[in-house]
């Protein structure tokens, strides 16, 4: 085995035989290859841990009146709005961020709407999601918004799905909104289930 200087570990042959038989060169090569292979192993281990989240709010929205916005933050806290006044009705999120690391994500959401009361023809169900940075007063500074909607002519359950690909930073929050409309103002709506998934596609490329 080669010898090394005391301060900077500079290698040199330990003997004339070692100088002649290439042992020093072999050792240097082996150690360099060892470092590069170890670095690749570490990078692959991190790469295989693709951040993916499946989030289900701990509680849902119930008894929504018609034609008003109701929302959930990812932390599971329920926020209700009456009259749609964003600045006064929405408290700040407690655990705001969605993506553990910035990058391109495939986001998918699904929810179930169930009505209390008789649904009239032409009523609608709408779900949308706001994406943006945390705002200390309003909760979210909206940067982008994606919608899904459907209507039906009878009562019962309506399921909505929404998906998109977007760039999310580690500082961003996302907020789901629900809204329904019906010609009878006595009808209320419950969101009985919401599921939200984020799958990472790539980093900041």
């Amino acid at each position: 085995m080669s010898k090394y200087t005391s301060n900077f570990d500079l290698p040199y042959p330990a003997s004339r035989r070692e100088m002649a038989n290439g042992a020093l060169a072999s050792e240097l090569l082996a150690r360099a290859a060892d470092r590069e292979i170890s670095a690749l192993d570490t990078a692959w281990a991190a790469e295989l841990q693709k951040p993916t989240s499946i989030l289900v709010p701990t509680a849902n929205v119930t008894g929504m009146p018609y034609d008003t916005d109701n929302s959930l933050f990812i932390s599971g806290a329920i926020q209700k709005s009456v009259g749609g006044s964003f600045s006064t009705q929405f408290p700040k999120p407690s655990t705001p961020t969605v993506a553990s690391t910035s990058g391109w994500y495939h986001v998918a959401l699904a929810s179930e709407f169930e009505a209390e009361g008789t649904i009239n023809s032409g009523s609608y169900r709408r779900m949308w999601v706001d994406i943006g940075d945390v705002d200390p007063v309003y909760g979210i500074k909206v940067k982008d918004r994606f919608y899904t909607q459907d209507s039906q002519t009878a009562g019962g359950q309506v399921n909505l799905g929404l998906e998109f690909v977007a760039f999310l930073t580690a500082a961003m929050v996302m907020r789901i909104y629900f809204r329904h409309g019906n010609t009878s103002s006595t009808v209320k709506m419950n969101i009985t289930r919401t599921m939200w998934t984020l799958s990472r596609i790539a980093g900041d490329v």
């Binding site: 290439g22 060169a25 609608y124 994606f146 209507s151 998906e163 690909v165 980093g203």
Partner: protein, 195 residues
């Protein structure tokens, strides 16, 4: 040289080789190891930065249903040269064989001339792809005008250079004009793995 490793074919000297063979042995080992490390690094880079193209337009545009493919004017990200607006601003080209997630999202006004029915979005794959088309629809209502559609699927791409595009259509009772005003449209494609 006398010795060869069993998996990566790395060569080394043994006791029967001449001393003069040592230099060549170390050089050969270094070069073969370099090549194997390069191959491993290339695979890692494909995984870290997979082929990914996302295009979008927020220009309010009236499209003729079925006839007009949606066009785009903004590249949000493109790691595989899938967007070439000068050649065709309606498609994403898939430049690697394998399995791809392909999808789209649109926001439209109530479809023109439709009194009752559904608004639909259809994504189409080019010839040679093991994927024809798929569709998503929404019942339209006068109580909440607007059609908002999103969908994705996994498509098999046996030959690089295949492409995808999206068009809008409707079912139900409608009268001319058979057009729809779109104000947001986004289409994406990202590679998921080899065949």
């Amino acid at each position: 040289m006398s010795g060869t490793t069993s998996t990566q074919n790395l060569q080394f000297t043994t006791g029967t080789d001449a001393i003069q063979a040592a230099g060549e042995a170390v050089q050969d080992l270094a070069e073969r190891t370099d090549a194997r490390l390069l191959a491993a690094q290339s695979q890692l880079l494909i995984s870290q930065t997979p082929p990914l193209t996302v295009v979008e337009s927020r220009v309010t545009t009236k499209f003729t249903r079925i006839t007009d493919a949606l066009w785009y004017d903004t590249v949000l990200v493109d790691t595989q040269d899938g967007a070439n607006f000068a050649t065709d601003n309606r498609i994403i080209t898939l430049n690697r064989t394998g399995y791809w997630n392909v999808g789209a999202y649109v926001q439209c006004e109530q479809f023109d001339g439709v009194s009752t029915g559904t608004g639909q979005m259809t994504m189409v794959g080019s010839a040679g792809m093991a994927y024809v088309s798929h569709q998503q629809s929404q019942i339209m209502t006068g109580a909440a005008p607007g059609v908002f559609l999103s969908m994705s699927t996994v498509a098999r791409v046996p030959t690089a250079g295949a492409s995808i595009y999206v068009y809008l259509s409707a079912t139900g009772t409608f009268t001319p004009p058979e057009t729809v005003t779109n104000y947001v449209r986004r289409m994406w494609a990202y590679w998921m793995g080899d065949l």
